[in-house]
């Protein structure tokens, strides 16, 4: 298995720098991503057969922050998300142009193993999809398949604790994951994603099938997880993006129906003082 080369970790943004930034007029605040990005998408275009789904998307994903991708249906948010861990490789007609780099390494380079990419960049889907196995096995499955030599009971407990599910399920680890409520199932899926020890977690509308209470639990969990993981979330719920994301990217469909990145900035800036008229129209509900 070809490993993704580990490069030196970029310098993290200190809390002080962020706090200082808040004193500046909103227009002068800088989206400082240059020196703490973990992922970089450069001039990336995605195609399904001849159809171009994404057009020349370029932006950087800061490490250990939550980045939201928002935009109208069909603008390519999920396509972009799936390009980040090469999930689109599973679609036969798919091909991409441009670069997606993870810690400086091109994820689409020939010697890169997509399975390893997906281990380092995990994914949680819209609908909770636990395996039809026990809660314990749901967590242990990934590490076993990946041949990870770990203390499995300890890893299972750690992942369930990180996913704020341990207290709910510690006495029923042998029960089926499918017996849990929708919100618990989604947290189980998050715990399962954590089990392979990824650095980035991609979430494709993780709360769209959940009620408001379960949604808030997942949002709290995302905030907690962002201390250790980089999270990228696709959401149709702008309030959710505003609540949880540190950075937000707004995508929109061009006339040729390819999605393009219109604006990417601090979430507070994007929702209070967007630079692009199209962003303003979308977030104020005047799009279309």
């Amino acid at each position: 298995m070809t490993m993704i080369r580990a490069t030196e970790r970029p310098k993290a943004v200190t809390e002080d720098r962020l706090i200082t930034d808040q004193h500046l007029p909103i227009d002068e605040r800088i989206t400082r991503i240059e020196d703490d990005s973990i992922l970089e998408v450069s001039n990336f275009s995605a195609y399904y057969g001849k159809f171009r789904a994404l057009h020349n998307v370029s932006f950087q994903i800061p490490e250990k922050k939550i980045t939201a991708l928002i935009g109208p249906s069909g603008c390519g948010k999920s396509t972009l998300l799936r390009c980040i861990n090469r999930m689109n490789d599973l679609v036969p007609s798919f091909h991409g142009e441009g670069e997606v780099t993870f810690r400086g390494q091109d994820l689409y380079a020939k010697d890169v193993d997509p399975v390893e990419v997906r281990r380092r960049i995990g994914m949680v889907f819209q609908k909770p999809n636990p395996f039809p196995k026990s809660i314990y096995e749901n967590i242990a499955f990934g590490p076993k398949v990946n041949g990870m030599n770990v203390n499995m009971p300890a890893l299972v407990e750690d992942c369930l604790r990180r996913a704020a599910l341990w207290d709910d399920v510690k006495d029923k680890l042998k029960q089926s994951g499918l017996a849990l409520s929708g919100g618990q199932q989604q947290r189980l899926c998050i715990a399962r994603a954590l089990a392979t020890q990824p650095e980035v977690i991609l979430m494709d509308e993780p709360c769209s099938a959940l009620d408001p209470i379960a949604t808030l639990k997942i949002e709290d969990l995302m905030k907690e997880l962002s201390k250790d993981f980089t999270i990228i979330i696709v959401t149709h719920n702008m309030q959710q993006a505003a609540r949880v994301a540190d950075y937000t990217a707004f995508l929109m469909m061009r006339e040729d129906r390819a999605g393009e990145l219109v604006e990417f900035s601090d979430t507070d800036k994007l929702f209070t003082m967007p630079k692009d008229k199209r962003t303003e129209d979308y977030i104020t509900g005047r799009f279309g």
Binding site: Q239, T272, M273, T284, G288
Partner: protein
């Protein structure tokens, strides 16, 4: 999707600000008239009408809260609503200053006023003019006009300065009139505060348009 209902709500709220603004303008004008003509009946009317201004402020505030809760406004829409919330509060406080002047007129007792009455009246006229123009800046989203009005506050500060010193001289010359003169100083202070609050409205207009929160012209008082 054009959010017609929300846009109508926004228009209504802005209209409410203008209605409230004209109520406050009238209160300031009538309080100054009552002082100039020593008309206690008119002062009483200003005090009584303040209740309606307070009610208007709460009505606007309630509409803003409803819009925020039900329509989840963002970006420019959110800034307009936040600006309206602050502006209605400033207007309500300005009406309180006008009410204060009316009450002072009642406390001053009978007889003509002496002292820098011309300057005090001029402060009233200029402050009210600033208020009128600030509401024009609000409606027209006119940042330049808003900045210009903030600069005009210096004139009010100068008039306050000269009136204050003149009234202090009057106290020295006629110490037996200290109570009446102090009431006039209070009137001047109310007018100075009205002009300051106009600059606050202008700052909110600038915020509404640019998203920048800035203190434009810090009053000397």
């Amino acid at each position: 999707m054009t959010r017609e209902l929300f846009e109508k709500n926004l228009r209504d709220m802005q209209e409410d600000v203008l209605i409230m603004g004209s109520m406050v303008e009238k209160a300031i004008q009538r309080s100054m008239d009552s002082l100039r003509t020593r008309d206690v009946k008119l002062s009483n009317a200003v005090v009584a009408e303040d209740i309606a201004i307070n009610a208007k402020r709460y009505e606007i505030e309630e509409k803003c809260i409803h819009s925020i809760a039900l329509q989840a406004p963002m970006a420019a829409d959110l800034r307009v609503i936040v600006a309206i919330l602050f502006i209605s509060n400033e207007l309500e406080r300005m009406a309180d200053h006008a009410e204060g002047i009316a009450r002072i007129n009642m406390m001053l007792g009978e007889g003509p006023l002496s002292g820098p009455i011309g300057d005090i009246m001029l402060m009233g006229t200029k402050s009210n003019d600033m208020l009128r123009r600030s509401l024009t800046a609000f409606v027209d989203r006119d940042v330049e006009l808003a900045r210009q009005i903030c600069d005009d506050d210096d004139e009010i500060d100068n008039l306050y300065d000269s009136s204050y010193h003149s009234l202090i001289q009057d106290v020295i010359k006629t110490p037996q009139d200290v109570e009446r003169i102090t009431y006039l100083i209070w009137s001047c202070h109310n007018l100075e505060r009205i002009a300051d609050r106009v600059t606050n409205i202008c700052e909110r207009v600038i915020f509404m348009v640019t998203g920048q929160l800035e203190e434009i012209n810090v009053s000397r008082y």
